[in-house]
């Protein structure tokens, strides 16, 4: 039985990492592979990492850098090694699903937004089948659903479209309905004309 993830403590560790200079992707990849080795699993092949890197969105290098820096901390590392060892799915699949799940989370969000940090931490644990300390499975699922940035963004899009239409009809200062947070893709996306 693997150890449950203490969300608040792990989030604090991630926040501390976020304040430091970023870890280069090569180093981060090495850290993740080292964890897999220590867990008795086969590390992800270089070609796979290269493919993920090549085909990824712009935030991927920052996300993997954040992951690697976080896993340098003894406590997240120890927990992760335990989960990696106990997981039945292949590490390639797990990591691929993790990166897909956190794709909308930009580097700036991960640095500054505690909700996005919490989502990052929870998704990492959930991908490896870990439970969240002090929560039932339903509670954890509900919390993750609430934090789901992709889902929140999708719901927010309706409001944003409506807001733009309303602002065209409203005199005086107009709300641009821009991105709540920068995406890290060369600055905030500009509003559609």
């Amino acid at each position: 039985m693997t150890s449950p993830l203490p969300v608040a403590a792990m989030q604090a560790a991630l926040h501390a990492v976020a304040l430091q200079p970023p870890v280069p992707p090569d180093v981060a990849i090495a850290v993740v592979n080292d964890c897999l080795r220590l867990a008795g699993r086969v590390p992800v092949a270089d070609a796979t990492w290269d493919a993920w890197w090549r085909d990824s969105h712009p935030s991927w290098t920052a996300q993997v850098g954040m992951l690697g820096a976080w896993l340098m901390d003894r406590t997240p590392q120890g927990l992760t090694i335990g989960w990696m060892g106990a997981a039945t799915a292949s590490p390639d699949r797990v990591l691929e699903s993790f990166f897909a799940a956190i794709a909308p989370l930009s580097a700036e969000m991960l640095r500054n937004n505690p909700y996005r940090q919490e989502e990052f931490v929870r998704r990492w644990g959930a991908c490896w089948g870990a439970s969240m300390a002090g929560e039932t499975a339903d509670q954890s699922a509900a919390r993750l659903a609430w934090l789901d940035y992709r889902q929140t963004l999708a719901e927010y899009e309706r409001a944003r479209r409506a807001r733009r239409e309303e602002s065209r009809r409203r005199p005086g200062m107009k709300s641009g309905g821009g991105d709540p947070e920068p995406t890290g893709e060369g600055g905030a996306r500009r509003r559609d004309e």
């Binding site: 509900a142 609430w146 929140t152 899009e157 309706r158 005086g172 200062m173 947070e181």
Partner: protein, 534 residues
């Protein structure tokens, strides 16, 4: 329901702070009357007052700790200072349409409730839910959207009843927007950036009438900034400007937010409250004066009004024996002086400047329509006159002001208090220009000593002195004055000097001419320094 004292201790524990507040006391108001506020802070007694009757009527008897914690939160943290409230109120005049009710209280409520809600979300939700169920027609969409943010923050704890949800459904995607807001707003660390984001989102929910409904059960409980705080805030600050820039970059606001002149901000802040407007404008001009009067001298106390001996009167039993003038008594009654003493009282004398070096200043301020009202736009003549008056009074002198435009001028007494002087000089008439030569002549006749006279005007004065009836009055005034200065904004210096040529020959006359109104304040400060250095 727990006791008020127990609830108070638990409320303080929420913030883990010691506060300089007296324990709360109950306020028994009609639950259906008033603005529906549950609690407020009495700044005189430094006591929180909580409406227990209303709390019960809302069905939130068990929420007393949360309500008190909410009030404590406003006191200890959100807002950190009254200055921040003033700054945000000034900032929102640049973000929201004119006539919009202030959102600053709702803003700080969000911050306070996020902290209180970490342990007492259900209690807060009960208060809001009870209020909405009973009085929801009083709450506008801005307040309801804030409640929807609480609902998003506390999943599983209902805040909005179905009827309120139905009212909000006219705003497409509002629930998703509330969730996004909750996950973004509290992650922003800078309060100005938070506030700009807050306004940019709530802008959508402001109704056409500006949203002047009730502020909710925990609203209306912020400390109100003084006129001086608001006047200072109207000047803006770099943090607010950076927040606006970042908001523009992130696309929160459509278009650039142009800087707003401070007097326009003050007008928006005052709304229909003329008294507040006047106090803020006075404070604004005071601050402007201070930027020019950087060599502030230690203020000497206003000269004591002297006393002179009055005529003698018979002294009677019961009068103050110290008032007996024995010399006069002996001279008048000889040996009977002890039984028929005379007393002499002291009467106030007209005070004079306590230093012959510091000038007595007679200011003639042009308040005609050639310059704007100082309440609407910066009036350079008014500011220049205030700078001169403040400098002379601070130097221990006194000032008499004559405000003229057309018709009868307004003449002050001799003024010794700079606040009184500045307030007097803020008056404005508009209309045409007609220099009050009759008043000048009368002042010259009535004044025993030569005073310094300064006219603060524009080309209008040059035209006025060219009038046929002006020559003799001006000649007499120049003879009667220690100095006669004309501090003028003119269109062209050469033609102005040509118009003033008859006066230039007199040694007492000095023109101080500027071409730009913005330069007049600096010229006034330099003139003041020159006057005080003589």
């Amino acid at each position: 329901m727990i006791s008020l004292q127990q609830a108070w201790q638990q409320a303080l524990a929420v913030w883990d702070a010691s506060v300089a507040l007296s324990p709360p006391r109950p306020w028994h108001g009609e639950p259906s009357a008033g603005d529906g506020s549950l609690a407020c802070l009495d700044l005189e007694t430094r006591q929180i007052m909580v409406n227990l009757d209303l709390l019960q009527a809302l069905g939130a008897e068990n929420s007393l700790v949360a309500v008190l914690a909410h009030e404590v939160g406003h006191h200890v943290r959100f807002p950190h200072t009254v200055g921040l409230v003033a700054s945000l109120r000034a900032l929102e005049t640049r973000l929201l349409p004119p006539g919009t009710a202030s959102l600053v209280n709702l803003f700080f409520d969000l911050l306070v409730n996020e902290v209180v809600g970490r342990t007492r979300a259900a209690e807060l939700a009960a208060v809001y839910r009870g209020y909405v169920e009973q009085r929801q027609t009083e709450l506008g969409p801005t307040a309801l959207f804030c409640l929807s943010v609480y609902q998003a923050m506390w999943p599983g704890i209902p805040v909005l009843p179905p009827t309120a949800v139905a009212r909000m459904d006219r705003y497409e995607g509002w629930q998703g927007e509330a969730r996004m807001f909750a996950q973004t707003f509290f992650a922003l660390s800078d309060p100005y950036l938070q506030f700009v984001y807050f306004c940019s989102v709530l802008l959508r929910y402001i109704p056409q009438d500006g949203g002047r409904g009730a502020c909710g059960p925990l609203g209306g409980d912020l400390p109100q900034p003084a006129a001086e705080d608001l006047a200072a805030a109207a000047l803006g600050n770099p943090q607010a400007d950076r927040a606006l820039q970042e908001a523009e970059t992130r696309g929160w606001l459509e278009g650039k937010v142009a800087p707003t002149p401070p007097l326009a901000v003050l007008q928006r802040l005052a709304g229909p409250d003329d008294s507040l407007h006047h106090r803020m404008v006075a404070a604004h001009y005071h601050r402007l004066c201070e930027t020019y009067l950087f060599a502030v001298e230690v203020r000497r106390p206003a000269p004591e009004q002297g006393e002179v001996a009055a005529a003698t009167l018979p002294w009677e039993f019961g009068d103050d024996p110290h008032l007996i003038d024995w010399t006069t008594s002996l001279l008048a009654h000889g040996a009977l002086a002890p039984v028929q003493p005379l007393q002499r009282r002291q009467e106030p004398d007209s005070p004079a400047s306590d230093s012959p070096q510091v000038p007595e200043l007679e200011l003639y301020l042009d308040t005609s329509g050639s310059m704007p009202s100082p309440y609407e736009r910066l009036n350079s003549l008014t500011l220049a006159a205030q700078i001169l008056a403040t400098a002379v009074i601070r130097g221990g002198g006194r000032v008499r002001a004559v405000l003229y435009s057309q018709g009868r001028p307004q003449v002050s007494d001799w003024l010794y208090d700079e606040d009184v002087a500045r307030t007097f000089l803020l008056q404005y008439a508009g209309g045409g220009t007609e220099f009050p030569f009759a008043t000048l002549a009368e002042n010259c006749r009535s004044q025993r000593e030569a005073v310094t006279r300064v006219v603060v005007s524009d080309d209008g004065f040059v035209w006025d002195v060219a009038r046929p009836d002006a020559a003799s009055v001006m000649a007499a005034a120049l003879d009667a004055s220690a100095q006669f200065l004309a501090l003028l904004v003119v269109y062209a210096e050469t033609s102005a000097r040509r118009g003033l040529r008859p006066l230039l020959a007199h040694p007492a006359f000095r023109p101080v001419l500027v071409l730009e109104p913005d330069d007049l304040a600096g010229a006034a400060a330099a003139t003041a320094r020159a006057l005080l250095d003589r």
